[in-house]
Point group: C2
Amino acid sequence: MLHMVYHYYKGRFSQSEIDVVTEIPFRIMVDGVELATMMCTPVKLRELALGFLAFERIIESMDDVVSVEVDEDESDAYVQLKKPLKIIERRIFTSGCGGGVTFHLDYHDYPPVRTERTLDPKTVPSLIQDLHDAAVLYHQSRGIHTAALSDGEKLIAVAEDVGRHNALDKLRGETLERGIDTRDHILISTGRISSDMLRKAARMNTPFVISRTSPTSLSIYVAKRLGITLIGYVRRDKFNVYSHPENLASRMEAVVERAWNSVSST
Amino acid sequence: MLHMVYHYYKGRFSQSEIDVVTEIPFRIMVDGVELATMMCTPVKLRELALGFLAFERIIESMDDVVSVEVDEDESDAYVQLKKPLKIIERRIFTSGCGGGVTFHLDYHDYPPVRTERTLDPKTVPSLIQDLHDAAVLYHQSRGIHTAALSDGEKLIAVAEDVGRHNALDKLRGETLERGIDTRDHILISTGRISSDMLRKAARMNTPFVISRTSPTSLSIYVAKRLGITLIGYVRRDKFNVYSHPENLASRMEAVVERAWNSVSST
């Protein structure tokens, strides 16, 4: 999915359209019952439904399946089984990369995050560097994600976990316990930015989300809708801005205007 | 957590102890009810429980919490709330990086994966290269994971998703539909190797799991227990073997023996 983004490089901004990975909610209905809804990339949805059922031991082979219909528009799968759906023993179990289980899918419940704060673009790469330096477990063993809260100058809290969602949850828990008001702060993560991360940012009222890696289409949509400045692909002297660049610096709008005009006129 | 691994470098093996990220199942009990069990890194467990509850809108602030006790040995959190636990509207929702929700936590149900097959170590980096070449969506937009099934020479099926778990599910679904017997095959992923991936490999009877990135402590434990050869950190001319190196090549055992002796004697 193509998105217009702002590229920052050595103090200057330019703009272009780039491809980002598409993320949608996909619902698996089995014999008329909603079994699971998962965020995914809308390719091979039929295979995703079947594989999920197989790994959950709901089916053993295609012999257990009467039919699978995928409604691409609604992004639902309707599965009919030969035998009645087995009873599920344990309700929830999040896993691995952070799993990220939630009981809600409620982007529309959130009011936009409003802020008077602006962020100096020059500080963005250094915040990612600070995050890297603060990652104790990462330097021991790799294979770990780090999340941090910053006031724009330094890191206030840092959490690590094998899962990027867990790292964010730990960060949230710590700010609650320490009584830190997260409003107007900056959320930083080593992990890819999917819609969940934006949901969590909205919940924390953080108007900036920064990651070393890429966002999904849905996270850009949610960021735009919620007034969050989404920054990704941060390197030593460059990064991409996916939404609300106007919060990036006091003179950002003028800079973008010029960049946009120069792109348009060529 | 320290683990003894075999390092492959340009056709030769050596052995050393390296640190891998610890992964445990962590159960959050609220007012005596099991709310969720998640795989995580055992650091800041109290914060993880509180942050999870906050993001799920079960608590708004610490004022809603009577007490939080973390039993580090059992890796359980016991939370007491002031008001009764709100009713959960939607049962399950997996998210973002692949979520990975499951109803089972059942490593002990699986019989060991047995194989007569051996894998030539020289082919390991080229399989990862094949995976990279096959990643269509990745090359468009980044921010995506790829999973593949190989017979040791070529890739038989490939799937991509924003979530590494979803990519594996799609791969499983495709092999079911195409009637491919996954037994004796090789599972390859771009994502980090957490215990879920080993659970899925066992379910597919694939005796080899290969990833460009690192495994967790629990995935190594499960791999050892289930007879799966776990390979990670694959680069152009090197990789690490975390379990069952004896399946790697016909003469692997002798090679390892020599490497081990040479390490021991220095």
